[in-house]
């Protein structure tokens, strides 16, 4: 729809532009239509180039180009100095895919992806419904639950690793409230560490989910609830038949962001568990594996190959997700310009 409007407005706009001082010498009256249109076209292209050019250039240079280079470096054994010469073909990839510590990291990432959705999703929806009511201090509550999301990963990591030490605040608090049996070694015990990580991730990111869902809830027209109430629907019926379906797009976008974030997880693990012990604590991720075996080992070719594997895994999951889950939501946004 916006396209047909666009065509119209171009048609409407053309004459005044031709009359303008910059119209390439074309004056209002008898300029041939083709020439006038051509100059307007040229002008439009120049505007597009001036406005979008810098963003596209920067994006290509600092985002796309490095990813392409990662694919190239990944075929070499390379210490990172001088041009890469020691071409090893797919050897790096063979090593990665047969390395059991990479398998572990991959498993951890998978666990984090699934548990993030399971732990945060339902809780965040429940809290969004809860907070979507008239209550005193509502905006303050919103600010406060968003605080963990706004705080830097470094601060979260530093604070939680101090609290979760065996002699830290959490164990001390558990003893104080009479649960001394619950005190464990939160960070080093391989059976527990990944759950501690999930606890921290949930704490840090659930506020974002709640705020996103609140925003989604507010875009649901009130009339639907009024109509349902007149028909005698109960609160839970309304939530199930109106809120959840209409919140669907928001939930699906949130899940997408959550999955991608979980696959790329680096900061929290690296800060809390440091460079070397994340593997023994059972919290290593593909990204920490990449940094440890790539840059820190001086094996840049290998590190780049890990980056490519990480990217391909994320891309496949993202494409599958877009194909089967997000398609109905993004269809309009992405294909609009192509509509015939």
């Amino acid at each position: 729809m916006s396209d047909s409007l666009g065509e119209n407005s171009v048609a409407v706009r053309t004459p005044p532009e031709g009359r303008g001082p910059v119209g390439g010498g074309a004056t209002a009256a008898p300029a041939p239509a083709g020439r006038r249109r051509g100059s307007a076209d040229w002008r439009k292209r120049a505007e597009i180039a001036i406005l979008a050019g810098p963003a596209i250039l920067l994006f290509l240079a600092f985002v796309v180009f490095p990813v392409v280079m990662a694919a190239y470096y990944g075929f070499y054994r390379w210490k990172g100095f001088g041009p890469p010469t020691d071409f090893v073909g797919l050897e790096n990839y063979r090593l990665i895919l047969t390395d059991s510590s990479f398998h572990d990291a991959l498993m951890h990432n998978g666990f984090i992806v699934v548990m993030s959705l399971v732990l945060q999703g339902p809780a965040a929806i429940a809290f969004a419904l809860l907070l979507n009511q008239k209550m005193r201090g509502r905006s303050l509550i919103r600010v406060l639950i968003f605080v963990p999301y706004v705080i830097a990963e470094v601060i979260v990591g530093t604070g939680w690793s101090l609290m979760l030490q065996t002699t830290g605040a959490v164990n001390d608090f558990l003893e104080k409230i009479g649960l001394p049996d619950w005190t464990v070694d939160w960070l080093s015990d391989p059976d527990i560490a990944i759950w501690s990580l999930m606890l921290i991730i949930t704490w840090k990111y659930i506020g974002f989910a709640v705020i996103l869902f609140l925003a989604g809830l507010q875009s649901i027209p009130e009339e639907l609830f009024e109509a349902a109430a007149i028909d005698g629907a109960s609160y839970w019926q309304m939530q199930r038949s109106i809120t959840l379906p209409l919140l669907g797009p928001t939930i699906r976008i949130w899940a997408f962001l959550s999955i991608i974030g979980a696959l790329q997880l680096f900061d929290l693990v690296y800060i809390i568990w440091g460079q070397y012990i994340s593997a023994t604590a059972g919290t290593s991720t593909m990204a920490t594996y990449m940094v440890l075996n790539g840059r820190l080992a001086g094996a840049y070719g290998y590190g780049n190959a890990v980056a490519v594997v990480l990217f391909v895994i994320s891309l496949i999951i993202a494409l599958i997700y877009q194909r089967y889950v997000l398609r109905r939501d993004t269809e309009g946004a992405i294909t609009e310009g192509k509509k015939k």
């Binding site: 963003a55 985002v63 990813v67 706004v150 604070g159 605040a169 980056a307 490519v308």
Partner: protein, 294 residues
């Protein structure tokens, strides 16, 4: 209200009461309890950090989860009077402000093109940036590091700013495009009848009208930059150039026995992001609403 609630058959007073409330019902006390519980869980670790800074190390060792008694302000004064903290805060501010400016200016311009121009490459341009959401920093960091080194930008703040702008563009453009598309066509037509060119319309109408969206993406970009860890970790080796996240980490390992001072340093370093966020919280939530709807 009373008239309406008596109208339906006798079995429905309860739904009617809900109707008045609809999704915005008046909260009962269980709601308050649960909401405050959630807030408590979210805030307690932050309070631990802030209050821990007011304690001494012996207090922390003797009673890890206790409150300050007596309150000691010396840790905070120590940090505030150290040049290290201010230098790192200055670096972080410089990087954050320039990143935000770059993201906002380039993002608005590109989003304007996608939202308001008809040309054959438009869908491709949108897809390019949308695909950028799938190119997180993690994947590109190793070659990015090699590239920044090749450009001679190692240990410079520009080596952080330029990639950060590039990586923030996809989100920015995707949030801003629906904002700019929502500006009525009639306004643009009226402006062009009044003799404004499309660029003139952009400066005089689009920029002022897109302020809510711009503030949202600007704040998000600033907070992301303020908190950014991985890129500085790779690019900055020189302590003089450290931004606060690296500073917090190096301070924490350097003074690992001085927990109270680490906590004071940590809590001071989160203030700017928190202040910015709470000032513009309404705008950010509003911006997310726009993005979700769009």
């Amino acid at each position: 209200m009373a008239a309406i609630s008596t109208a339906p058959p006798p079995s429905t007073p309860a739904p009617v009461r809900r109707r008045r409330s609809r999704s915005l019902s008046q909260a009962g006390w269980p709601t308050y309890v649960l909401a405050y519980l959630l807030v408590g869980v979210c805030i307690a670790p932050v309070l631990y950090i802030v209050l821990g800074g007011f304690r001494t190390n012996s207090q922390i060792t003797a009673d890890p989860s206790g409150l300050p008694s007596p309150w000691e302000i010396v840790n905070y004064l120590d940090v505030l009077s150290s040049s290290v903290f201010w230098r790192q805060a200055g670096n972080s501010a410089f990087v954050g402000i320039l990143t935000t400016l770059g993201v906002v200016v380039l993002g608005v311009m590109a989003a304007y093109v996608i939202a308001r121009y008809n040309f054959s490459g438009r869908a491709a341009m949108y897809s390019l940036f949308a695909a950028g959401l799938m190119f997180p920093m993690t994947v590109a960091i190793t070659p990015l590091y090699i590239m920044i080194r090749g450009l001679g930008l190692m240990n410079t703040l520009w080596g952080i700013i330029l990639p950060q702008i590039a990586f923030a563009l996809p989100t920015t453009i995707i949030i801003l495009t629906p904002f700019l598309r929502a500006i009525p066509k009639e306004l643009e037509e009226a402006a062009s009848i009044d003799g404004a060119s499309r660029l003139g319309f952009f400066w005089r109408m689009v920029i002022p009208l897109s302020v809510p969206g711009v503030v949202t993406v600007g704040i998000l970009a600033f907070i992301a930059s303020w908190n950014s860890y991985m890129l500085p970790l790779f690019i900055l080796n020189d302590e003089m150039q450290y931004t606060l996240p690296l500073g917090v980490q190096s301070f924490a390992s350097q003074f690992s026995t001085d927990t109270a001072r680490v906590l004071a340093f940590t809590s001071l370093s989160m203030i700017p992001a928190l202040v910015f966020f709470s000032l513009f919280e309404r705008r950010i939530v509003g911006g997310l609403t726009g993005a979700v709807k769009g």
